[in-house]
């Protein structure tokens, strides 16, 4: 692309402005105690996931300005990260994306000496295969994908995926609009976990999908609770955070159930991209939100599973008892792994069956 030639007058004005800015800059920098301290944090995180009050609290305490940019899927984040058009200091990928980013050498190893508050985290997270020892990522919130039923309409107990997709609930079902999710649910009913994703296991789910998809009324990953709240559907498979909000709203009406075949568990974490301009600001932010009092605020607004054990202690009994946030017993939970090129096959299979189910 050709750039238009700058007119001399314009460039002179620009030059003068830059000079003026250069004069101002040292004065403000000198005012701070540490001249090298970063002044900005370019945060690239999920939409509606970090309370504004938490960001403002960090800005006030650290004097670092936060530029909060939002995304709606891991892949949307990768588009901007890979294109390199903007530089981010802190991103918030899920576990399978972290695994791929580590494999591709895109993340900065964390300087743990700057993150003393990591001691508050549940030790379980450091034992997971996507980032053993949490060398590159710090868990923010984790959650599950489970079944929500409207007990006023669904009278019989529902315990697994196959009991959701029954002829009697046809046209009353909402599911996440996510090919990988739905295909792995189908795999679970065939006794295969998400770690066993391959061309063969994916292709084998076709008959299950052909039975399931014609019964679905709504596909929605952004706000699946809406269709349930509006009464347009009575049963759904949704994120636990969405489920927890429904249960909180009306626990007599809504119930969250983890499917007996095994539920998908996701872990959204913070990580620092390799080319981050201000990694120090990113570390300061992570350490800030790991404080129990701050982390508790996040849990109040977004009731997922908080990996911060100290913060969990500060929650009310009712909040800790919400089974969508903190499941009881020892349910079968499974974590996604990076699926590599099989993701293309999953997408094609899902698109095909979905298109044929509609007509």
């Amino acid at each position: 692309m050709k750039k238009p030639q700058m007119r001399p007058v314009f460039s002179r004005v620009l030059f003068a402005t830059l000079c003026a800015l250069a004069l101002v800059q040292p004065v403000t920098a000198g005012a701070a105690d540490d001249a090298a301290a970063p002044k900005e944090l370019n945060l690239f995180a999920w939409s509606e996931y970090i309370p504004t009050s938490v960001i403002e609290g960090f800005e006030k305490e650290s004097g670092i300005k936060v530029n909060y940019e939002e995304y709606g899927s891991n892949e949307e984040m990768l588009i901007k990260l890979v294109s390199g058009a903007s530089k981010y200091d802190l991103i918030q990928p899920s576990e399978y994306t972290i695994e791929a980013l580590i494999k591709e050498n895109q993340l900065l190893p964390l300087d743990k000496s700057r993150l003393p508050n990591m001691k508050n985290l549940d030790g379980w997270y450091a034992k997971q295969a996507y980032d053993p020892g949490l060398k590159y990522s710090v868990p923010y919130m984790s959650g599950t994908v489970g079944i929500v039923v409207n007990k006023e309409k669904v009278k019989e107990p529902v315990t697994g995926y196959d009991e959701v997709f029954q002829e009697k609930y046809k046209g009353r079902i909402v599911v996440l609009d996510d090919a990988v999710e739905i295909v792995t649910w189908a795999m679970a009913t065939q006794g295969k976990g998400p770690a066993e994703v391959s061309s063969e296991t994916v292709a084998a789910t076709r008959p299950v999908l052909e039975r399931w998809l014609p019964m679905v009324k709504v596909y929605d990953s952004d706000s699946p609770k809406t269709a349930l709240l509006n009464g347009d559907v009575d049963i759904g498979i949704v994120w636990s955070g969405e489920g927890a909000i429904l249960v909180k709203e009306d626990s007599a009406k809504f119930q969250y159930i983890l499917p007996k075949e095994g539920a998908h568990m996701f872990i959204d974490s913070f990580a620092i991209p390799k080319n981050a301009p201000n990694p120090a600001a990113a570390l300061a932010f992570i350490n800030y939100i790991l404080q129990p009092a701050v982390s508790k605020e996040i849990s109040k607004e977004f009731p997922y599973t908080n990996p911060n054990l100290e913060a969990r202690k500060l929650l009310t009994e009712q909040e800790q008892g919400n089974e969508a946030s903190y499941p009881k017993g020892s349910p079968k939970l499974e974590i996604f792994r990076d699926m590599g090129p099989t993701a293309v096959e999953i997408d094609e299979l899902f698109t095909d069956v979905k298109a044929k189910s509609a007509s």
């Binding site: 090919a179 094609e348 979905k354």
Partner: protein, 297 residues
């Protein structure tokens, strides 16, 4: 842009090349077209021959893998479905929009600005908010169902949300102004004496409309069709919000290649390029026979 505004002007202006001032005046438009239309289309074409990268993105190569998938019956059937939706939307827009445009165009000249403003008012709010507003109207315990039940016209709520009906309503609502405005432009220029002449010479109202009014306002109608059909084919947000994402439109499939787990940019680029080529072809075909008429727009 490279086409003379009208025949009479073309006669004397086409001889001399545009002067320096002409070039300067044209420059912003040309830069805009090159930067935001030509360059992206070329990038898309190049990407469509590339190979998928692990994290999204494209490894440049010469591979026909993506193009060989474009013709797959799965995607052709989805494209056809999108054409059906966009076509039905455009048809309803013509049927509803034409009378409105006609009335506004023939209204008293002092009232026209007010009527036009009424057509434009929806643009003052974000498209997404307007679409979400339809959710509150159409949902099973929504505005429309409660009114109908209050009137005792129906006993049970009608299922309207998450149906093709809701998608068509949303699409028609979105694109209706784009149909009304160009037709209004043609109607306003319509010479009333031609209608009077037709009626004087014994043509009935229907014949006058079909033989005189419709041909003279056809440029506005075809511009409106283009403005409705083309964007309606690619718009997938309405489908997601009001249709529950049950029927994929071609826009959904392309979006998924970039923002979905497949992370298959080359295939998304190939689908996008194919769609662009189809538009260009359709535009070229519709444009040729009535070139004379179009100049009147």
């Amino acid at each position: 842009m490279d086409q003379p505004a009208s025949k009479s002007e073309a006669a004397d202006s086409s001889r001399r090349s545009p002067g320096l001032i002409g070039c300067l005046l044209l420059a912003p438009l040309l830069i805009w077209v090159v930067a935001f239309v030509v360059a992206p289309a070329l990038i898309m074409l190049v990407y469509s021959f590339g190979e998928r990268e692990v994290l999204g993105g494209v490894r440049l190569a010469f591979s026909l893998r993506s193009w060989s998938r474009v013709g797959d019956p799965i995607y052709l059937s989805i494209l056809w479905k999108s054409v059906e939706y966009a076509g039905l939307t455009t048809l309803i827009c013509v049927l509803v929009g034409y009378p409105v445009a006609f009335v506004v165009g023939r209204a008293d000249e002092r009232r026209r600005p007010m009527l036009l403003t009424l057509v434009m008012i929806p643009f003052w709010t974000s498209f997404l908010i307007r679409t979400y507003a339809w959710v509150t109207i159409l949902k099973s315990r929504g505005l429309l169902n409660s009114v109908l039940m209050q009137l005792d016209w129906i006993g049970e709520p009608i299922e309207m949300m998450y149906t093709p009906f809701a998608v068509i309503i949303g699409l028609v609502y979105t694109f209706l102004p784009f149909m009304i405005l160009p037709i209004y432009g043609s109607v306003e220029k319509l010479d009333p004496s031609l209608i009077e002449a037709a009626l004087d010479l014994g043509a009935g109202p229907w014949r006058t409309f079909r033989r005189v009014i419709l041909p003279l306002t056809m440029p506005g109608v075809s511009a409106g069709i283009l403005l409705c059909f083309v964007p309606a084919l690619g718009l997938y947000a309405v489908n997601d919000i009001l249709g529950g994402g049950r029927v994929d439109m071609i826009g959904n499939v392309i979006e998924n290649q970039f923002k979905g787990t497949a992370r298959n940019w080359p295939f998304g680029a190939a689908l996008g390029t194919a769609l662009l080529a189809a538009f260009a072809l359709a535009f070229w075909l519709t444009r040729r026979p009535d070139r004379e008429a179009r100049i009147g727009i």
